[in-house]
């Protein structure tokens, strides 16, 4: 980004992006519906499974496929695990931006590795999972997966306590984060923000509660909301959301039923949804991730549009950074938590 400074304070800031533009949407319009699924992994490469889910959800609303219960449970478990590892990675990144030489980052990544091992055991790849299919998931849980996931979820609050002990009370961190770039609820809504940043500003809007997609209505969990909306609130909201995800995972891992993993009637290869359009959206770890699909009945999507939360949250960066110091620009960008794969597509 081009930052114009007056001494230490920021006068003008203009993010420059587009360097990671891979023409994702045009490629998806050139390939079959199934071929687009592995590309969604590469959108927000920190949370591949939620990207898959958003795309398959959109296709299912387009074609009117219903998903068996076991598949819904697996989707919720994998999505909440993705949210956990994304928020944990966020805690590590924001500390690294502030110059903590990576100790918090390494603790975060030690836990994230355990979650990625679970993904590798289930889908075959740590990050490029390509696991969700139209009407369910590609393959069933391998034996022993549920037990190891249960162990991980059991040990996670202890890890979160360790991270909070290291970070939340830390006077330097308080000085660096509190009061930096506060955001009013109106400004957040007008800016089209979504996800933890919106909730940090005090707006109670979580798509899992609003749309009740998947079987989220079946699980009891709370949605944290901040009051001031500054960097510290954005940081704390993610910590509290990680704790809520652990609650959901505990309920889901216990309640998972048996049954088919994919809707038998759904055709994956040569899949031709009826002509029409659909917009499927989910509460991704970074915000509202939506797919707007138009199908003309052929085996290729006519129009494939992604609504990336990172790009839209990034538009507010300049306004947040005006008048702050250089060191704050790093922290503010870190607190918005963007992934360039999603910004540039």
């Amino acid at each position: 980004m081009n930052v114009t400074l007056d001494g230490e304070t920021v006068v003008k800031l203009q993010p420059v992006f587009g360097y990671l533009h891979r023409n994702h949407e045009k490629i998806a319009e050139g390939n079959s519906w199934l071929a687009a699924v592995p590309y969604t992994d590469r959108l927000d490469y920190i949370c591949p499974l939620t990207n898959n889910w958003a795309y398959t959800l959109a296709v299912e609303t387009l074609a009117g496929l219903e998903v068996p219960e076991r598949a819904e449970y697996i989707r919720i478990i994998t999505a909440e695990l993705t949210r956990l590892q994304n928020h944990v990675a966020f805690m590590g990144f924001i500390l690294a931006d502030m110059g903590a030489w990576g100790s918090a980052l390494m603790y975060a990544f030690r836990e994230r590795e355990k979650i990625l091992d679970l993904f590798e055991a289930l889908t075959g790849a740590r990050m490029m999972c390509n696991y969700m299919r139209f009407g369910g998931c590609r393959c069933d849980l391998p034996s022993g997966w549920l037990e190891s996931a249960g162990q991980l979820v059991e040990g996670f609050p202890a890890f979160l306590d360790e991270m909070e002990a290291l970070l939340t009370g830390n006077e330097i961190l308080l000085a660096r984060l509190q009061g930096v770039a506060p955001l009013t609820p109106e400004r957040a809504i007008n800016g089209g923000l979504s996800g933890p940043i919106l909730r940090a500003a005090g707006v109670d809007y979580d798509i899992r509660k609003v749309d009740n997609y998947g079987l989220y209505s079946r699980f009891k969990f709370r949605v944290p909301r901040g009051r001031v909306g500054d960097c510290y609130d954005r940081f704390m909201i993610r910590v509290l959301e990680a704790r809520e995800s652990v609650e959901i995972l505990k309920q889901a891992l216990v309640g998972i039923p048996d049954g088919p993993v994919v809707n038998p009637k759904a055709k994956q290869r040569g899949f031709r949804p009826p002509a029409g359009e659909a917009y499927g959206r989910i509460e991704g770890p970074k915000g509202e991730l939506g797919f707007y699909l138009i199908s003309d009945g052929s085996d290729r999507p006519y129009r494939f549009r992604v609504r990336p939360p990172s790009l839209i949250n990034l538009t507010l960066l300049e306004e947040l950074c005006l008048g702050t110091k250089i060191a704050d620009v790093m922290v503010i960008l870190g607190s918005i938590d963007i992934v360039l794969g999603e910004v540039d597509r």
């Binding site: 071929a35 592995p38 030690r110 055991a121 391998p142 290291l166 009370g169 830390n170 006077e171 290869r269």
Partner: protein, 203 residues
């Protein structure tokens, strides 16, 4: 009790515990000394595709019939198949050339899903780096073909399921063939019987 400096002290306690812990509890130390200790990959893990052949001889036991479905379905289009023709030019159910450019392949495993003949599977070998950018990164048929035994080695459960499915298909085909043969035999028997009777009716 936010005594000034308590937060910092708590932070120091955490780092101290991790520092001493890394000498005591082994599970805290997550790094593996790679060349000496190889990571034990979970069974489902995948790297790049390979072709499976039954029996001993790779060419003969090859399952692939060059139907080119995987070539069409592959998102980055990195598979290249040319069907084999016998001397008279009649297409055979075998690929003469089957190349996969693993520098393009993103190991997304869609080819495995769409292959109706269970002939392409995902390998787990990840040490494929080479000095030559073009030649050795395009795996031709000879490099891709691996025995079913190897496949059982790397993905035991998936391999046994595939064999079970193939067994079931073969049995179904045999039953169908037997039924067809039996029906054909009954038809010829009736024709023969009809051939024996008609001489009386025409007298």
């Amino acid at each position: 009790m936010n005594f000034p400096g308590i937060g910092l002290l708590k932070g120091f306690v955490v780092t101290a515990r991790n520092f001493l812990g890394s000498y005591v509890e082994k599970d805290r130390l997550t790094t593996r000394q790679y060349p000496e200790e190889r990571p034990k990959l979970p069974e489902n893990s995948r790297s790049f595709p390979f072709l499976v052949f039954d029996g001993e001889d790779p060419e003969a036991g090859m399952r692939c019939v060059a139907c080119k479905i995987c070539e069409k379905e592959c998102p980055p289009q990195c598979i290249y198949i040319i069907q084999d023709r016998d001397a008279a030019g009649k297409p055979l159910k075998r690929p003469r050339i089957f190349d996969i450019d693993i520098s393009v392949c993103m190991s997304c495993q869609i080819c495995v899903e769409v292959c109706p003949f269970e002939s392409i599977r995902m390998d787990t070998d990840y040490e494929l780096s080479s000095f030559d950018r073009f030649g050795s990164l395009v795996l031709d048929k000879s490099k891709l073909l691996k025995s079913n035994a190897y496949y059982h080695g790397i993905h035991p459960t998936e391999a046994s399921e595939t064999d079970a499915r193939i067994e079931a298909d073969r049995k179904k085909k045999e039953a169908a063939a037997a039924a067809k043969a039996e029906a054909a035999r009954k038809a010829t028997a009736e024709k023969a019987a009809k051939a024996a009777h008609p001489p009386e009716e025409t007298k």
